[in-house]
Amino acid sequence: MIKKDVLGIRDMSKEDLIEILNTAKEMKKIIEGEKISDILKGKTIITIFFEPSTRTRLSFEMAAKYLGAHFGNIETKTSSVIKGESLIDTVRTVERMKADVIITRHNMSGAPHLMAKYLNASIINAGDGLNEHPTQALLDLMTIGEKKESFKGLKVVIIGDIVHSRVARSNMWGLLKLGAEVRLAGPATLLPKTFEKLGVKVYYDINKAINGVDVVMGLRIQLERQKSGLFPSKDEFARYFGITSERMRLAKKDAILMHPGPINRNVEILSEAANSGYSVIEEQVTNGVAVRMALLKLLCERRRNNENNY
């Protein structure tokens, strides 16, 4: 049984992950079929994003609507919350509109955890600072699960700006829990050795990192990191850490190439590779809706079962 809030993959059990992924398979049938169900009839789902997003927010909206929930959205101008002073007030207001599940994205790590502390509604973290992006990892895991027999012993490499990536962290936790071997690759300024203490391997040579893997995952690089002196130029990054078709050939024959999008084409992934047969990037998007439906279903079931507690 999953917890009241979905704050991160790190605090989920392996059983939670498997339950969510199995439920997502069922949900995918709804998406590919009638696109309507009454599983969330009478439930209210609200997204509050403190950071701009189009795709993730829409993916949650579609998930809620396919399941027959009431759906609302608040877009909070970053200027009014830049100091975070109204964070608790804002989400409390939303809760008072009888939200059952609040989905939130915030540019600061731990913001959803803070909200969860003060709310009865279930919180789903749609990305918090550098910490976690659990639904992205779930959709990645679902996509890998569809393509590969088993997670056990599967070799996965995540490449790019690891230290600033909540996608990398969530995937790392999920993959480790499911028994995969996780490799991280990127420039040392964006990938401290400390990660090795968490049970993953750190590589500064992308060719070695990709060699023999089943899954290659690229990450979006924030070009403003260049200004902070963390890497010298787009070109140098692309040449030494870019995912090319040639480098993909170092991976296993049936390897897949993933990316959470949007891609900086010809920086972290060369266009030819993104468009190649390795790529499952578009399939990831559909699975995104499915795992979000699964979470909404499981959270609302949990709330029904625990009604007396609320």
């Binding site: 790190r10 100091k83 975070g84 002073e85 964070l87 608790i88 915030h106 600061m108 790590s109 731990g110 913001a111 955890h113 803070l114 918090d128 600072g129 550098l130 910490n131 976690e132 230290v163 909540r166 962290r169 401290p192 400390t194 990660f195 203490k197 968490l198």
Partner: protein
């Protein structure tokens, strides 16, 4: 009013640790003898308890003037005496900053009117703590300061720091420095290490502290200034200070109770009450800090009592205020984590929390006939559970909330008056 503290074990700060009675009159210690009898004296029964020189905190944030929503001189000194402190030195990061004699006079007058403990203001090194022009140190000294600090605003300009040391040393002022290279700490909010990597908070590397300590030691060596390193937190900082002392540099150092007893692990979960500068570090650092106390590298345990409002902390970790409210439980924390565990003795605690800071602040120290009767009576057999709602301080921001601690302050006497008594009744008193 004559008072006799009867039957307690007296640790006087001059080597004695034995049962004795203490006669207090006219605010001073009149006699210390095996037994003292009197018909007209108030008796404090200290049987089974320890009688210690009042604690002296050389790093307190009283917040007044300017931030009275966080703390006032009244509430801060109330918290101090509840923690057994009889003197506190308050940091100049007020508004206005303690950079001129008027603010010093203001604080002294409010402390005289509202204060429970004695208050010694610390002046700023630069005007407005802006790190540009040196403050009027001679005037500040005449108004009553004994130390200088720009508190949480480290002086990044080494040339300016050197001039401050040269000028301030004319007046024998202690240079209290918060050592942090801002370029290295960047946007960090917790220790840079395993936990920051795991939970995605930006880290403050240990080198940010060490680079600045090294620089200040070098400058103190060349200027001969009395350098005091505030809140040391890392293993290599301890080593730098150890070597500087061996090298004859006039340097002393302090450590906070939370840096001595807690580690970065408790930041996992994003409790903003764990956020402080310097950040909570690792077990390795904690062990090195304790070794530093034991071999005399670190001289003082100072609270860095930093009260904040609930709203200051009820925000995401990144933007929560830095600081821990801790003056009223500092004794119990140190007793529980260090003395009870056999790492230091109760006499050591008295040195770190009373004698050494008093010497650095150039006030009288220890329990001695003729000294001001600033005395704290503690019961080391009693336990309690920390409940921040009972804090006298306005700052409820403590990571020790809910922790079970040993060692209770029973009485605090300031200038011979019982100004705090553990049954919750207080005699109002003007210092």
């Amino acid at each position: 009013m004559k008072t006799i503290i009867k039957g307690g074990t007296v640790i006087n700060g001059y080597g004695a640790n034995e049962k004795a009675d203490i006669l207090v009159d006219n605010g001073k210690v009149e006699a210390i003898e095996k037994t003292i009898e009197s018909n007209d004296a108030l008796i404090i029964d200290a049987n089974g308890k320890y009688v210690l020189p009042g604690f002296v905190d050389m790093h307190t944030h009283l917040r007044q003037p300017g931030f009275e929503e966080k703390e006032t001189i009244k509430t801060g000194t109330h918290a101090a005496v509840a923690g057994g402190y009889t003197t506190v030195a308050c940091m100049p990061n007020t508004n206005p900053v303690i950079d001129n004699e008027v603010v010093v006079e203001y604080i002294k007058s409010i402390a005289k009117r509202d204060g429970y403990s004695k208050v010694i203001p610390i002046g700023s090194m630069t005007k407005g703590m802006m790190g540009e022009e040196i403050s009027e140190m001679a005037k500040l000294k005449d108004a009553g300061i004994v130390a200088l600090s720009d508190d949480g605003h480290p002086i990044m300009n080494a040339g300016l720091m050197k001039r401050i040391m040269i000028y301030g040393s004319m007046y024998d002022l202690l240079m209290i420095t918060h050592c942090e290279d801002k370029m290295l700490s960047g946007e960090g909010v917790m220790n840079n290490g395993l936990i920051s990597t795991m939970i995605g908070l930006r880290g403050i590397p240990h080198e940010a502290e060490e680079v600045m300590i090294a620089r200040n030691i070098i400058l103190a060596k060349s200027t001969g200034a009395r350098l005091h390193i505030a809140h040391v937190s890392t293993k290599d900082s301890v080593e730098l200070i150890r070597r500087a002392k061996a090298d004859g540099v006039n340097v002393t150092a302090e450590v906070t109770p939370h840096n001595l007893c807690l580690t970065e692990d408790i930041v996992d979960g994003f409790d903003t009450n764990t956020k402080a500068y310097p950040p909570l570090r690792t077990k390795e650092d904690v062990d090195a800090l304790i070794d530093g106390l034991k071999d005399g590298t670190i001289d003082v345990i100072a609270t860095d009592h930093a009260p904040h409002t609930k709203d200051d902390k009820k925000v995401p970790y990144e933007i929560a205020a830095f600081g821990i409210s801790g003056i009223e439980i500092a004794f119990s924390v140190i007793y529980t984590y260090l003395v009870k565990n056999g790492l230091i003795t109760l006499e050591d605690l008295v040195s770190f929390m009373s004698i050494n800071p008093a010497k650095l602040l150039k006030t009288s120290y220890g329990i001695k006939v003729g000294n001001a009767a600033d005395i704290t009576v503690v019961d080391t057999n009693k336990e309690y559970t920390v409940n921040v709602d009972n804090f006298k301080s306005k700052g409820k921001n403590s990571p020790f909330n809910g922790k079970r601690l040993t060692g209770v302050v029973e009485y605090t006497l300031v200038d011979g008056k019982i100004i705090y008594k553990n049954n919750g009744k207080f005699e109002e008193c003007n210092v």
